[in-house]
């Protein structure tokens, strides 16, 4: 009984830790503290955002382009993300100069499973980007993260991002998800 209760509380503590982690991460992005953000990414991170396709109801496996095999919006590791950060930080990446003002919102955070040091987390996101006088981009979708605990700290080991647009209705994807 009280053991049940303890494990229930453990679960709660874990969920809270994960929510804090994801909220803090979103804040780093919105505050453009990109180096601190990179520090939350595991060196073996795989960062993937597939392209959505319109398919027959009985072929759901074709709905999203395949990681490592087909065209995707993003399908890369930390090294490339580092380059993206460096590009923005230079002040000469015109698509982000002047900078966009972003709001990263994370919700429906759910710990799906815990295996050893790896925690699988599902969530929903809304990313809103404003730039210049009138430009607005609204990105809404789903995310599946694998967070790995190393020396007590959590790092993003895998991130799968489902954007749901088929034709991207924005000119650029200069923000991080």
């Amino acid at each position: 009984m009280s053991q049940d209760r303890d494990s229930a509380l453990d679960r709660l503590l874990l969920e809270a830790e994960v929510e804090r982690f994801l909220s803090a991460e979103a804040e780093l992005l919105d505050e453009r503290r990109f180096d601190d953000w990179l520090a939350l990414l595991h060196d073996d991170l795989h960062y993937w955002m597939p392209i959505a396709r319109n398919v027959r109801f009985n072929q759901p496996e074709l709905e999203y382009t395949r990681e490592g095999a087909e065209a995707n919006w993003f399908d890369e590791g930390k090294d490339t993300l580092k380059k993206r950060v460096l590009q923005i930080q230079g002040g000469d990446h015109w698509a982000e100069e002047p900078r966009s003002r972003t709001t990263h919102l994370v919700a429906n955070v759910r710990v799906e499973s815990v295996e050893g040091n790896d925690i699988t987390v599902k969530s929903r996101f809304i990313v809103c980007g404003f730039r210049l006088e009138h430009d607005v981009d609204l990105f809404i979708g789903k995310r599946v993260d694998v967070l790995r605990r190393e020396q007590g700290a959590l790092k993003v080991l895998r991130r799968s991002i489902y954007l749901d647009q088929s034709v991207l209705l924005s000119r650029n994807l200069t923000t991080f998800f």
Partner: protein, 435 residues
């Protein structure tokens, strides 16, 4: 604004109205898009009979299908009864299409095969052969598929002209010089940009002057190996001459490099032994196959009006699809050498993704600039001042380094706006054409 005054070929200027006027936009659709040939896809997307995918032909949504006889069809995706799209899946395999509105059914070749109540209520009188899906003229060219809805247009080969046939064939040759050497990677990249389609077209036609757009990425080695700068070409040590070729009578444009001499491979992909070996072998095979002509390396260009491509180590073909004077949808097909090892295909795929499209570290800055420039074409006072295309004006010539570089083309070596001038001169002729 008289249509005849849109362009001033003497001065090398073009009216901003060309990019902002909805009236000119409507004329473009009728006189430029409805009359041309468009790239709609590649045979590698249709391996089996019954395969189909949706594509675009200028303003139109089309079905590209391989029928039971193995023939390729390009069909207007609009039911002849009430206009409903006959197919609503991006791709698939089947034996035809059933319209979800009243259930008319069509074969893979567009034939109207089924009409509910045909006997009872149409009394068998409906002329089914006349009411099939509208079929486009189709041409296969070394694996690429082209379509036109204009019965009066010349054949695709004549539309290309002799020189462009040579360049396009070369584009479609694998790194080893083999014809039809590429296949499409799954997943067409599609997005929208709030600018006129011609900003994209003129960029791909040959804008080597906009390096300033990309200064940020030059610092970051986004090249094929991820260790070199953004461009990479079949590397040889000898001097390569950037060369810009345009077919003034047809509006096609090409960016190319011409190497001073045949030379051995210089291990530019040394970062990966497997990739490097592959490219060395290709380099050698290509020299054997093409001999002296292997000194020509296609870097990209535009098949008039809106089929654009990049090459030089990465092959992509795309479409600038006009939605309105100020909005464009872009489709991009990514290609890899058909026979390359998986490591090469993966390396190329990753290179494309970080380079091109909305998530591409290079093209992001293009899109940003085009979108901003569009505003300058639209506002009331600024649109009184024409755009300037005077770069290297007067430096184009008909004589050329090698006669096999083309008969009908004009050529400029080194950075120039020569190709844009040729593109717009042809475009303006068609737009002003009253026939």
């Amino acid at each position: 604004m008289q249509l005849a005054d849109l362009i001033d070929t003497e001065a090398g200027t073009l009216s901003r109205a060309s990019f902002a006027s909805e009236e000119i936009f409507r004329r473009e659709l009728e006189r430029v898009f409805a009359r041309g040939w468009n790239f709609v896809g590649h045979t590698s997307q249709l391996p089996k009979n019954g395969d189909f995918f949706l594509s675009r032909c200028g303003t139109e949504t089309v079905i590209v299908s391989r029928d039971e006889k193995g023939a390729i069809n390009v069909l207007l995706n609009s039911c002849r009864h009430r206009g409903m799209p006959a197919c609503r899946y991006d791709s698939g395999n089947g034996n035809g299409f059933i319209c979800s509105y009243h259930g008319w059914s069509y074969g893979l070749d567009g034939a109207l095969t089924g009409v509910p109540k045909f006997k009872e209520r149409y009394q068998g009188k409906l002329e089914r052969e006349k009411w099939g899906l509208v079929r486009a003229r189709v041409t296969e060219f070394y694996g690429s598929i082209w379509a036109s809805f204009d019965e009066t247009a010349p054949s695709f080969e004549d539309y290309l002209g002799p020189d462009m046939q040579f360049y396009l064939r070369a584009l479609l040759q694998g790194p080893d010089g083999e014809d039809d050497g590429y296949e499409v990677i799954g997943g067409i990249v599609k997005w929208q940009v709030a600018c006129n389609w011609k900003f994209g077209a003129e960029n791909f036609a040959g804008d080597h002057y906009h390096g300033y757009s990309h200064i940020s990425v030059e610092r970051l080695s986004v090249g094929l190996s991820g260790k070199t700068s953004r461009h990479n070409f079949a590397g040889v040590k000898v001097k390569q001459q950037p060369t810009f070729l345009a077919d003034p009578a047809r509006g096609h444009t090409i960016r190319a490099s011409v190497f001073a001499a045949l030379a051995p491979y210089d291990d530019q992909e040394a970062a990966s032994a497997e990739v490097n070996d592959y490219y060395r072998q290709c380099h050698e095979k290509r020299q054997q196959r093409l001999g002296d002509k292997s000194r020509l390396l296609i870097r990209g260009g535009v098949i008039f009006p809106n089929t654009h491509f990049n090459s030089a180590g990465r092959t992509t073909i795309g479409l600038w699809l006009p939605l309105s004077a100020g909005r464009t949808e872009v489709w991009r097909w990514l290609f890899v050498p058909r026979n390359a090892p998986a490591a090469v295909k993966d390396t190329l795929r990753e290179y494309y993704l970080r380079y091109a499209g909305p998530a591409g570290m290079v093209e992001q800055d293009d899109m940003e600039n085009w979108t901003a420039a569009q505003r300058g074409a639209e506002s009331l006072v600024s649109r009184r001042y024409p755009f300037n295309y005077q770069l290297a004006m007067g430096l184009e010539r008909r004589s050329r380094p090698d006669e096999w570089l083309g008969k009908d083309v004009t050529i400029t070596e080194d950075v120039t706006e020569h190709n844009q001038r040729a593109f717009y001169a042809h475009w303006a002729r068609l737009v002003a054409d009253e026939s």
